[in-house]
Structure formats: C-alpha cells, structure tokens
C-alpha cells in the first residue's frame, strides 16, 4: 500500500495518543483507585423495596469508625431520605435503587454521579472532606415533573452530626386516680457511646438524668406522676435529650380508658 511518509508519522502519533488516553484512565482506576459503578450491588425488584431491610427504611447508618452507609430510594419525583445528612471527613457509601423508572443520583458539582435503574442497586463510595450543602438531583428524564426531582445532601461538621433519636411514650388520657408514666428513649445510631442528659417535665415535676448510650443501643428514662397530684385538665409535658425535644399533652379526665397508645413520637 502506498502511504505517504507523513501519514505514517501521523499514524504513529495517533497510536501514541490513543495509548496515552487509555494509560491516563488506567492510572485513574489503578493508581488513584477511582472505581466505576458496577455490578457489586445486589438486585432488588421494585415491589420488594418496602419489605427490604435496607431500603424499606431509607436512612443513614454508621458502619465503621468514619464509615457510613446511605440507603436511598429514587422515585418520581423525589429522593428518600431527604435531606441526607452525613458527617464531614468520612467515607460514605451510597446504595441507591429506584421504585419505578430510570433515574439518576447526582450530587451537583461533584463526581458523585450514578444512574439508578429499577431492579438494580447502584453502589458508590466517596469521601466528603469538607462540610457543605450540596444539591442532589436526578439527571435522567423520568417524567413530566423530572425537573422538580431534587433533594439535599448536607455534609455536617463532626460536632453537629449525630444519629441520635429521641422517642417518647406517654398516655393521652388518664383517670384522676391513675398514674402517668412518661418514658423517653434515646437511641444511638452511631457506633461510639454517647452521653446525654435526658430531661422529662410534667407539671411541676422534673426528672433529669444523665445516661450513657452504647453504640447501636438505646436507653430509657421514665417519669411517674400521680394524676391526682396534677388535678383534672390538660397538662403539657416535654422531654429532651441534647438538642432533641418532644412534647405533648396528657388529659386527666373521669371515665377515660388508660391507654398509652398514641404516644407522641413525631
């Protein structure tokens, strides 16, 4: 074949370019450890999501010292959970699946970007070093309100971040001769033990107690008051632990059934 000498030179230069591109990308994968979204996530049918241990309750979970996992669900036209809160300087693995059509999970202005396909679980591990607020959007057209599919990702200072929850069990109504029991339960979703001062107030009664909650455990504090001491009528209570507060009202009335159901755990 008759090929001009310059053409041979260019052919060689082209091969150098091509190999150079492949080499850069391989360096990114191997040298820097950048990994692609792939098939390491399991499969999950969209109608199994609600029963699924991870995706049935979309949430953030601590799995190691500075390691967190986020189980997120994309659907028309929202993300769950929203907002997603994680601590700075930690390694976060997002597990994302879809309830319906194809979506994406894109933390705007970063390389944290993956498709979300129904039936599949996208797994992406990233490290957020600095605290900050990020937009989380779906970049795959998913229907008429696709442009409204938006969530928040908050990367918090270590001190501001916790996975502590406060749950309160209190009766709605009590007979005048009965007892009112208010139980505040502090759950520590993180791995390290936390110290919390739990305060429960009802009428003039106040209970303040310091508790140590081990990682992944919960501790309860109960305040018991005689209804007779409060008298008939509505009485407000509050319970707090750290910066979490819950409040509600208990009525002391004649002829009510003592039920502890409907305790305020909003």
């Amino acid at each position: 074949m008759r090929i001009h000498q310059y053409e041979r030179v260019w052919l060689l230069a082209s091969m150098v370019l091509i190999v150079g591109f492949i080499a850069t990308i391989t360096y990114g994968a191997v040298g820097l450890g950048i990994t692609m979204v792939d098939d390491r996530g399991a499969t999950i049918a969209p109608d199994e999501i609600n029963e699924d241990e991870r995706f049935g309750d979309p949430r953030v979970e601590q799995v190691g010292d500075d390691e967190y996992e986020v189980y997120a669900v994309a659907m028309t036209f929202a993300f769950q959970p929203d907002p997603i809160e994680i601590p700075a300087d930690s390694e976060v693995t997002f597990y994302v699946t879809s309830r319906d059509v194809i979506h994406s999970f894109y933390v705007v202005g970063t390389n944290t970007n993956t498709m979300v396909i129904p039936g599949e679980i996208s797994v992406v591990t990233v490290e957020f070093d600095e605290p900050g607020e990020y937009g989380l959007i779906c970049t795959e057209y998913c229907g008429a309100a696709h442009h409204e599919m938006e969530g928040q990702l908050a990367v918090l200072e270590d001190e501001e971040f916790d996975l502590t929850e406060l749950e309160v069990e209190a009766p709605d109504e009590v007979e005048p001769d009965g007892e009112i029991e208010i139980t505040a339960t502090v759950t520590n979703g993180q791995l390290e033990a936390i110290e919390e001062t739990v305060t429960v107030e009802l009428g003039d009664e106040t209970l303040e107690e310091s508790v140590t909650v081990e990682g992944d455990e919960s501790e309860s504090v109960t305040l018991t008051v005689d209804a007779a001491d409060l008298g008939e009528g509505d009485h407000d209570w509050t319970a707090s632990a750290g910066d979490l507060t819950e409040s509600g009202t208990v009525s002391v009335v004649e002829g009510s059934e003592d039920d502890t159901e409907g305790g305020d755990d909003a």
Binding site: N111, T112, T125
Partner: protein, 60 residues
Amino acid sequence: MSNVARQEDPASVERIEHDEFDPVGTLALIAFYFAVLVLLWLFTYFVEFLGNVPTPVVVA
C-alpha cells in the same frame, strides 16, 4: 495513475501529482492539533475531573 480530464478551474495554476506533493502544511496543522489534544486532555483530566471531588473510589 489515470489522468482523467480535470475540471476547468481558473484558479488552479498548476497540476500536482501524488509523488511531487509533500503535504507539509497538513503535517504542521496536524502537529498543532496533536498538541492541542494533549493539553486539553491533561487539563480536563487532571484539573477539571480530579478537582471535582468527591470521586467514587474503591472501598478498602
């Protein structure tokens, strides 16, 4: 090499065959293109991409 009638083009002043034609201009242009590609690539990969943190990494 066949010599089919060349179209009349008043602007063409001479006729150059393959072996007498040395495409130095092409070589110059394409060398420039090569340089542009390399620079753009390095910039886009190492500045734009690697600067756009965080990037998905291997789980240890």
